[in-house]
Amino acid sequence: MIARTPRIVGALAFTSLFALTACARGCTTSRPPIHINPSMDDQPKVQPQAASDFFYNGASMREPVPGTVPIGGLREDAAFFTGKRADGQFVATIPHPVDEALLERGRQRYVIYCQPCHDARGDGKGILFQRGNVPTASFHQDKLLKYADGQIFDVITNGTGLMAAYRWPIPPADRWAIVAYVRELQRKRPATATGAPADTK
């Protein structure tokens, strides 16, 4: 104790000098702010999307093991989850009754996920096309008009061409709602050739 005290006092004096001269506020720095009391800010647990030094790719989030089935993840209704029948053909119609609620849900999801490229009318002239000249398909071409409902679902699920897969952000039920809404756009197109449908501003 006696032997140690001078050293500790020395260290104290030295460090408090630095503490006083170090710029606490008003100085710019690229380093994170000083944080004297850690107060459990950084806990040794793994929060969602956190990094982990344990795994070689640096991510703590792991992909589910291929072939496993979580509870509630049993997808026995293949038509609903893949848009395909057991024989691999696309289902012709939405495996779900189409009503106002579904269309409204579809409109909401469409505005969020589809409209930036496909635009409100489905002409493929969305903001990305206008600004970035990203080629986007129109729903009103013959090829797409002939698509089975299941095929549109499949495109949303897995993407096509430049279009990315939307299976992660959009759950299957919402994908079917979007399909229903896209069908509605296609149906209304001849009637509203001069402007957008009233309900899709």
Binding site: I8, Q43, M61, R62
Partner: protein, 1029 residues
């Protein structure tokens, strides 16, 4: 009868150190600063570190977001998903539901629809998730200690396979653990077809071999049994522990507790008799417990059989068998009870007992009509049955040089094989050794090729659970260290190709499920975790032999042997009986590197981190032994030095050694902890034997028990009654004053009889509670809250159901990121368990004292003493009645802990989680704060689960229902002793439980108004046995 409760021998003997520890309130050292640092030093260091902080460290941590590159469908970060899987354990399989956070398993629960767990779990199951993230797991394939890849091994095996193809497997041997698995069974038979001269041995250190042999003797078939304790009115456990060490403990506990609860709510209650040498959890739950040495079980059973079935074939031979030193009235009453309850009785013999005992038990159960009702049999299928003789013949082949290649398919025989076989030296004679192991353990460190074994949470596999139900093992995560499963290693050996376990298991299941629509059926099995309707048909055993005659022969041989080798000197220190018991926490040592289990107090001794020899007080007395004294144990030419622990209720003349400790290569947690009892266990006497000699050494050994910590000053905190009292008592006529004390059945430390309930009697602080009971209104200094809005959470713990198995403790530890502190901190009373299970003895310590268990979490008092003293409002009440901790506000005064009458608060004296390895961080529950140094913590009623359930209900657009919120302890409890829910919902289970007459609050007289209350224990003694010891 006036039960006087005491917690340990030190208390009843009133030793000065116990008085001191009682009066100290906290154990010596628990409230002092760490060793070697004085308070002044501490201030200096604090000052220095504060100013240093400004200089260098203590920048706000930089946290990066690392999203999925290819986001899997349906995984929403922060929302856990659940998978059904199966944990294989010996020949049992536990159906589980595992919580996965972004693809990392963090918490294990029972699968409610699986017959082996019924939604509950146990300590081993709960702690298994920590085994996945064990930092000491082997990181790669090793050849003679150097790292190799799996492909190197596949190449090496190709060469070995060619050699053995030439000799048709004559030099090839496999040593496996026992299993019940369709895939493993298929592969092993294919392997035998490929190598017809292959030698296959199956060994388990702790096994049901004796029972299988007994049933084989009695019926001529390999049969497994399934106990249905819920249907039994009278249960006799003969040296058996179906509630703790039996692999099917979870469903046994559920069934037993169902029978107890039924009685307490007005129905019929089961009655449990236990006859045993080592105090077991089953014995602790027994209404009548008889202490006899393990070798006296056979004579006891003979005497019982002679009374139950005097006319059965061969029973006449039992008449002459020497009856043990047991009060005949005891056996008479038992026999009468079993005969009256024909078809509703159940006799269970322990795995330690010899085959003849199991055969007679089978015969008696059949004679009494219990077979098919309380116990059912079915064929063993897809199983490798444990056999010590197969190991012995393997070892002799190894010693003879006949084995060129040995594959150890899991297990740790160098550690746990019988000492007389000397497995390690036999191993040295085998040129090519291959071992599959979770760590580089005792066996793997001696072999040529070590292959890391995949944890079950990383494996594809399958198993047959109790009753034969086909269950599937589904991985939650890819192997962290590239581990392989026994299925994959066997697959390589059979086919010569490296095939993924997924393909092999699916191949096995194709004939089971049928080719048509296989994928759909297979996915359904994965989703459910098991194939419903796949249980094996019941077999009605036909007795082909004469078990009674065999038992008589066994007893005769035993008597002759004892007379020959040991001059009759029963009870003298030189002729003690040695009994080997599996550890409640580590089993046979396979869980030794699991900190949660090492620190889990033994249910009866409350010891952590050690396995002393257990003795009864009367056995220790002539040897002058006290708990903690070191002894030298000499038995059959082998010796072992270890400490002793005096456990009241052990049979006199018995020395119990707990297996599984004393590992040398377990890892940084388990290596060098405890004493290796396998060093004195031989293949001749793997269960028990006489002729052990103890010599006291002049040294002591520190043992860390949690039992005296937090003593409640002898106040009556456990209450118990008997069934007849409960039934004779009118529903309470007392005015309902304070809902929690509507009625008081018999109270601890006062006489049971009503007339003395208020009269002070001897012992403890009697009558104190009675005084308060007379006072209908508690007086409070505080303005009391009404708590009449929203949810009001509350809990009940039914002491009548609780079996004291500690499942709740580990579940709480896993759910709430509770750290492990180590042996020396436990000795200082600094263990961190939020939920402890107190154990109280009552009765004569040198006789057969009874035991009551009492789980004690935070009581969530409405008038919480802790809140009133916190200077910084770090512990406050919320609107739903939760006593919550705000960790960030806590400055560590510990006033709250001082003021807590229940001593349920835990303080972080050290930064126990600071240097958590990266891999262990993965085991933490992301929904719960990991506390730092200087912070008080305690049970939160799993507030994170409450909030999760509220969010889920809101998203689903409905109100919260009863049962939506289940605390971790409640969910794990195999006895369903814990109820939790909304007290304002009169239809909730917890509200109904609180309306029970047995409901009482702990330390009610303090008027803390606890939200957690207890239901008194009810015993069901046989009136015929009144006054019979």
């Amino acid at each position: 009868v006036t039960p006087t409760y005491w917690r340990s021998l030190a208390q009843i003997e009133d030793r000065p150190e116990f008085r001191a520890s009682l009066e100290r309130e906290f154990p010596e050292g628990a409230s002092e600063l760490p060793e070697g640092v004085t308070r002044r030093d501490m201030m200096l260091l604090l000052g220095a570190s504060l100013s240093l902080a400004g200089l260098a460290g203590c920048r706000r941590p930089v946290e990066e977001i690392v999203p999925y590159v290819n986001a899997p469908e349906e995984v929403v970060p922060g929302i856990p998903r659940y998978y059904a899987t199966t944990m294989p354990f010996r020949r049992s399989a536990y159906g589980l539901i595992v919580e996965s956070h972004e693809g990392r398993p963090t918490k294990v629960e029972g699968n409610p629809s699986h017959p082996s767990t019924l939604g509950a779990s146990g300590p081993l199951v709960q702690a298994s998730v920590l085994g996945l993230y064990d930092p000491d797991r082997s990181p790669s394939v090793m050849q003679q200690g150097t790292r190799k890849s799996w492909n190197d091994f596949v190449t090496a095996w190709g060469q070995l396979a060619q050699t053995h193809a030439a000799d048709r497997g004559a030099g090839l041997a496999v040593l496996s653990e026992s299993f019940s698995s369709p895939s493993l069974a298929r592969l092993s038979s294919e392997l035998r077809a490929r190598y017809p001269r292959l030698q296959w041995a199956t060994y388990d250190a702790v096994s049901d071999e004796n029972r299988l042999a007994g049933l084989r003797f009695a019926t001529g078939r390999d049969l497994d049994l399934m106990l249905r304790l819920d249907r039994a009115a009278v249960i006799l456990a003969l040296d058996a522990d179906p509630l703790l060490t039996d692999p099917e403990r979870i469903r046994h506990a559920r069934g037993f507790a169902d029978g107890r609860r039924a009685g307490a709510s007005g129905g019929a209650m089961n009655r449990l008799y236990a006859v045993e040498g080592v105090y077991s959890l089953t014995g602790a739950m027994a209404d009548h417990r008889l202490r006899v040495e393990s070798r006296q079980i056979a004579p006891f059973l003979a005497a019982l059989a002679a009374r139950i079935a005097p006319s059965a074939a061969g029973a006449a031979s039992l008449a002459g068998a020497g009856a043990p030193d047991v009060d005949a009235r005891w056996i008479d009453a038992l026999a009468k009870d079993l005969l009256v309850n024909r078809g509703r009785g159940l006799i269970v013999a322990g795995e330690r007992q010899p085959a003849a005992v199991h055969a007679v038990v089978c015969a008696l159960n059949t004679y009494l009509g219990n077979t098919g009702k309380t116990v059912s049999y079915h064929e063993t299928k897809d199983a490798a049955l444990p056999s010590v003789s197969s190991l012995a013949s393997l070892v002799s082949a190894m010693k003879g040089g006949a084995v060129q290649t040995l594959v150890v398919l899991g297990g740790n025989p160098v550690f746990d094989a019988p000492a007389d076989l000397d497995f390690a030296s036999a191993l040295a004679k085998v040129p090519h050794l291959i071992a599959l192991g979770h760590t580089v353990d005792e066996t793997s460190s001696k072999v040529e090729w070590h292959i890391p074994r995949a944890h079950y949470l990383e494996s594809w596999g399958d198993a047959r659970a109790v009753g034969g139900t086909l269950s599937v093992i589904q991985p939650l995560i890819l192997p962290l260290f590239g581990g392989r499963t026994p299925v994959e290693v066997l697959g390589l050996m059979v086919g010569g190709q490296d095939r993924p376990g997924y393909d092999i298991v699916r191949e096995t299941w194709k004939p089971i499920l049928g080719e048509g629509e296989f994928d759909r059926k297979w996915n359904r099995v994965l989703h459910d975790g098991f194939l419903s309707g796949s249980e094996l048909p019941e077999v009605v055993p036909k007795l082909t032999a004469q078990p009674f005659a065999e038992l008589a022969r066994l007893i005769g041989a035993g008597a002759a042997g004892a007379a020959g080798s040991q001059p009759a000197e029963a009870g003298s220190p030189s002729s003690l009986e040695i009994v080997f018991v599996p550890s409640a926490a580590l089993h046979d040592g396979r869980f030794a590197n699991d900190g949660w289990l090492q620190e889990l107090p033994d249910p009866l001794t409350k010891l952590t981190w050690d396995n002393p020899a257990l003795l009864s007080p009367k056995t220790a007395e002539p040897l002058g032994l006290a708990s903690g004294d070191l002894i030298r144990l000499d038995y059959a030419g082998r010796g072992l030095e270890l400490p002793v622990w005096i456990l009241p209720g052990m049979a006199d003349g018995v020395v119990a050694l707990t297996l599984g400790y004393g590992r040398s290569h377990a890892g940084r947690i388990g290596s060098g902890v405890g004493f290796n009892a396998f060093t004195v266990r031989t293949s001749k006497a793997r269960d028990f034997d006489s002729g052990v000699r103890l010599t006291k050494l002049a040294r002591t050994y520190p043992l860390s028990a949690t039992q005296n910590h937090g003593s409640m000053e002898g106040r009556p905190i456990v209450r118990e009654s008997t069934l007849s009292e409960l039934q004779s008592q009118q529903p309470s006529s007392q005015p309902a004053h304070g809902s929690e004390q509507a009625s008081r059945p018999a109270q601890a430390e006062t006489a049971h009889a009503g007339d003395s309930a208020h009269a002070p009697t001897g012992g403890g602080v009697p009558g104190k509670l009675g005084v308060f009971a007379d006072e209908p209104h508690h007086f409070s200094l505080w303005k009391e809250h009404a708590y009449d809005q929203g949810h009001q959470w509350g809990m009940t713990i039914d002491l009548n159901s609780c079996i004291g198995c500690n499942a709740c403790m580990v579940a709480c530890q896993s759910e709430n990121n509770v750290p492990v502190v180590g042996k020396f901190q436990v000795a200082k009373g600094r263990e961190m368990h939020w939920l402890r299970v107190d154990r109280y003895f009552s009765g004569e310590p040198s006789g057969s004292p009874e035991v009551v268990f009492q789980p004690v979490p935070c009581m969530h008092c409405e008038d919480a003493p802790c809140e009133q003293v916190c200077p910084v409002a770090a512990t406050v009440h919320d609107g739903e009645g939760l006593n919550v901790m705000v960790y960030n506000r806590c400055i560590g005064t510990r006033y709250c802990s001082n003021n807590c009458p229940y001593k349920v608060r835990r303080f972080n004296f050290f930064n126990l989680t600071k240097n958590t390895p990266d891999i262990l961080r993965l085991a933490m529950n992301p929904d719960v704060t990991v506390r730092a140094r200087g912070v008080m913590e305690k049970c939160t009623y799993c507030t994170q689960r409450i909030n999760r359930a509220k969010i889920d209900a809101k998203l689903a657009g409905r109100a919260l229902r009863d049962g939506d919120v289940r605390t971790a302890c409640q969910q794990a409890c195999p006895a369903s002793a814990i109820e939790f829910g909304d007290l304002r919902d009169a239809s909730s289970r917890v509200a109904k439980a609180k309306a029970d007459r047995r409901n009482y609050a702990l330390l009610d007289e303090l008027n803390t108004r606890p939200r957690t209350t207890y239901l008194a224990k009810v015993r069901n003694p046989n009136p015929d046995l009144e006054g019979v010891a």
